[in-house]
Subunit: 583 residues, 2 copies
């Protein structure tokens, strides 16, 4: 039932002319509109809230499902307004774990799936979002568009295709726009920004580190949000400029504690939201998802009602959805959580679109898989690869090289080193922790980037990943050309995934990512075990890194300092210039 | 300059690559996003804000206009989110007075112009809105649609025409939906509500007096706002239901003082706005417009920043315009006011779309008139009228009649009385304050309503108005059939307007309303004098009413208790039934 008929039914139930489908009674309802907690019943029909009020027992009929909420707290379902759910985990698998933790709405980037599978893959991903039992939307993948522009002929995603994605009703806005691309090259991005705005859609910003005039310029040009503040001062500067701030607490970074200090200024947080910017299986299973973020915000001293507003209404307003979701009120979709107490963010029941979709941490509904349509270019095909694929010819016996030095989970620094040579080509030097790295175009294009990495710490062997920021190319790090070739070739055989090989080329751990080489088809617990096996194999081979797969995937990530490796070679991020590996 | 080029220019100015058009420097800026006051410069180009910041002197070029705001306070221009500016005053004349008082955005109903001039008149009104130097929008006239439905063949405004109006980009939502029509007849209104929602547009509600299940039902059916709360409790109930509350302080009612008591509950007012629901010339000239409302809110104890939020950002968010207007931030239209102090709402300068449009109460820009296109049915033609037009045949010598008793400016009560007879027809009895009343179809349809009014107080003569709620019919009240005919005939000769005649049929005062019989073409001061002359003539003829023209215009107003007169005769509002005048 849709449209006017659905509204007719809601109105009738509100007036007591027909029975509700579901009646949650006696709970303390967090009213995100007024900021109060009100003792209310909530009556639901056709997936939406028909009525709220102190006593709605008269709206229950013989077929009405009862939800006894006495002594409990009802809050709006959680809305993650900026995340990356097209990567690593198959979306339905993630939702099976995320929904019991209170997620009822999301807006995800779709950069990886688009970079890997093109527009057909993006449409498949949108179909998958639409099939889910919660409100799942996407943003158009600006990053894929920028990556495609840099690689003419390799990745098919032009401005017209982006425009068509923006027009799709399942796409709520333009995906994150890097300020460091917008400011120097506005003409590439402003037509898309303007189109999104003209459609009444959001424009998400990525203004990491920007301040002063350049940040102001981003706001002037039409960016509407930023999820990158890592300090209270950065959040305050953005909110003052009219940007919505999405405070990030996820797998890539945890900024909540630092950013929430902004509350000590006494400013209004009505235009701030809580978001994950992506959550990975082990983190989700260990620390929760939006439930964990909201709990942490409360534990850090944020008033609970404010935290719930930031996880619901504020995000809904940002996307112009507050007439549909984001609060417990008549006419809205019935998306709410039953919590044991105001400060205990552990959903005992989750209601989404009017159905009890989870109880006590168990998901009770199907999160459908949508098969990849035939003809979608599924697997990465960068090969065939052999040791010669990774030959970096040395001019003399003691070549000096620019080195990507690992300086944190995802941050690198630029260094220099002298490397050994074999057969006229550069060799790795594991004793000095100088390893070979390579990025191979997933579509088999002629460009292949070769570099030197310090800090990865493998004594032998190699690791490969067909999941990489933001291009979904095959990225490899290892102690020899032979090991790189073995790991890369195995990743291709798997149809994409993570592979660890030892010095003999024997596979020590592997994790297939059959969905375009960027996402698994396994359940979350299986996947978490698989990821731990890969990380364990890397530790056994000597890597001291805390999160080696993240570090590997972000070797290619051109938005963060300082030196990155792409299919076109080394990229000096701040100078926006490719530079040779050998000096 | 539009679209991406305009954004390119804004970005360039923000980065100092080109000079600003206007630089307001050194002011204390009210930041409606954070709720702070910040010492900032504001740089403007192409009508929009390019930059804000502590020192933007570097953005000024030789051609930059300077606005010294040191010691002053800058606030966002005021946004009246619910008003009726299609009535009485020509819109451009009103804006000439309203803009110097800080109005830079409005959403108006267009019920009168549509009821009077049909869809062609509505389109002309939209053209007039679009031609103005501020952001002027409308809502689709639900009330006209309901009135037209009740009078098949007379007024051409069907659902298709309403749908076409809703599609117009200058129409931001569906105009006020009477709850007392929606609840019993949802099928008439739900398709329009659903269409507005599907377009992402607002649905304005009119839920005067509704509470409990019927109010809940209205929210469930899709109403998004209400401007009718007259108590704090009513405002609280609506806000809790997710309805936006527009707190009204205007010519029809002044609810601010009572409703603002809601702040003592400590609830968030982020979803409450300040609105006029219509302002008439004498009120505007005497007490101001949005400036007066905001000033009064502050004087009543509302924190100034909250008051400014309620007059700008909150309304912009309601209409999904907060990326465009509603705050002083980069990328938004440069709509702001220079005030002498935070608590002194007397704009010394008004900037709209980047231009200084008023200084010290004087309007500096043209507010263009748009001529009525040829073919628009301009004047009311209910005649010809003669005394026999108002014959109410009496069955016996002492007929009993239902009487509309005036019980307030716009409220009536139902009474009964025995009336004298002449030539077999009911006579007025001025000594008992029992007067004849008539409503004549402005299009000359055969239906004509005749009734008896008590409380108007004319000793002799009659008064007529072609401006009437919500139908724009000719409404007359007087002491004899002859006087009714004289007043009515003169109103027709004028092409519409207000007319007062004495017992001899001589015109004692008149005020033409050449724009369809519902609006004047005169300036606001002229119009105020004309209205005072009409009211003075009515006082001389004995009327004790405080606002006799309002009472006259609302005799036909079918949304307010208890007994009303329409072209189909007496209407018992609560019973939604026409009832005979003679018992």
């Amino acid at each position: 039932m849709t449209g006017a008929d659905a509204r007719r039914h809601l109105l009738g139930v509100a007036l007591g002319e027909a029975g509700a489908d579901l009646l949650a009674s006696g709970g303390d309802v967090v009213n995100v509109y007024t900021g109060e907690v009100v003792r209310w019943d909530v009556a639901v029909v056709d997936g939406r809230i028909a009525a709220v009020g102190p006593d709605l027992s008269g709206l229950a009929g013989p077929a009405t499902e009862r939800l006894d909420a006495r002594g409990k707290v009802l809050v709006p379902g959680f809305f993650d307004g900026h995340t990356h759910l097209d990567v690593l985990v198959a979306l339905p698998e993630l939702l099976r774990e995320a929904i019991p933790r209170g997620l009822t709405a999301l807006v995800t980037e779709m950069v990886q799936v688009t970079s890997a599978l093109g527009v057909a893959g993006a449409r498949w991903f949108l179909d998958t979002l639409e099939a889910q039992p919660i409100h799942a939307y996407a943003t158009a993948p600006t990053i894929s568009y920028l990556a495609a522009e840099a690689r003419p002929g390799e990745v098919p995603l032009d401005a017209a295709a982006m425009g068509a994605l923006l027009d799709d009703p399942r796409v709520l806005g333009l995906g994150e726009v890097y300020w460091h691309r917008l400011v120097p090259e506005p003409d590439r991005l402003l037509p898309l920004i303007d189109r999104a705005r003209a459609l009444g859609k959001s424009v998400e910003g990525h203004t990491a580190g920007a301040r002063g005039p350049r940040l102001v310029a981003c706001a002037a040009a039409g960016l509407g949000s930023c999820h990158e503040p890592i300090t209270a001062a950065e959040a305050l500067e953005r909110l003052r400029l009219g940007l919505r701030v999405m405070i990030r607490e996820g797998s890539v970074r945890r900024d909540l504690e630092a950013v929430l200090e902004v509350r000590r200024t006494g400013i209004s947080l009505r235009r701030a939201t809580l978001a994950s910017d992506g959550i990975w299986p082990p983190d989700l299973l260990a620390h929760g998802y939006m439930d964990g973020i909201v709990q942490r915000a409360i534990d850090l001293g944020l008033p609970p009602v404010t935290a719930f507003q930031m996880a619901s209404l504020n995000a809904a307003e940002h996307f112009g959805l507050d007439g549909e979701i984001g609060g417990i009120a008549p006419g809205r979709w019935a998306d709410f959580l039953v919590l044991p107490a105001l400060r205990t963010v552990r959903p005992e029941a989750v209601v989404a679109r009017g159905r009890v979709v989870a109880r006590e941490g168990r998901c009770l509904v199907a999160c459908p898989d949508v098969p990849l349509p035939p003809g979608v270019d599924a697997g990465p095909r960068p090969g065939p690869l052999d040791p010669d694929s990774f030959r970096l010819a040395a001019a003399g016996p003691h070549p000096r090289a620019r080195v990507i030095r690992i300086a944190g989970d995802i941050v690198t620094a630029e260094a220099e080193a002298t490397l050994p040579v074999r057969d006229g080509a550069v060799r790795a030097d594991p004793t000095s922790d100088l390893l070979l790295a390579a990025v191979c175009d997933r579509r088999g294009g002629r460009h292949r980037g070769l570099g030197i990495v310090q800090g990865f710490g493998l004594r032998e062997g190699a690791v490969g990943s067909t999941l990489s920021f933001d291009t979904a190319d095959l990225v490899l790090v290892g102690a020899s050309r032979e090991a790189l070739a073995a790991a890369g070739q195995r990743a291709i055989e798997l149809g994409g995934g993570f592979v660890v090989v030892d010095g003999a080329g024997t596979v020590r751990a592997e994790l297939p990512l059959p969905l375009g080489g960027v996402a698994s088809a396994a359940s979350m617990p299986e996947l978490a075990r698989g990821l731990e096996a890969v990380a364990g194999a890397l530790r056994e081979l000597g890597s001291p890194l805390a999160r080696p797969l993240l570090t590997l995937q972000t070797l290619t990530f051109s938005a963060i300092p300082a030196l990155r490796l792409t299919t076109r070679g080394l990229l000096a991020v701040k100078r926006r210039a490719h530079v040779p590996t050998l000096l």
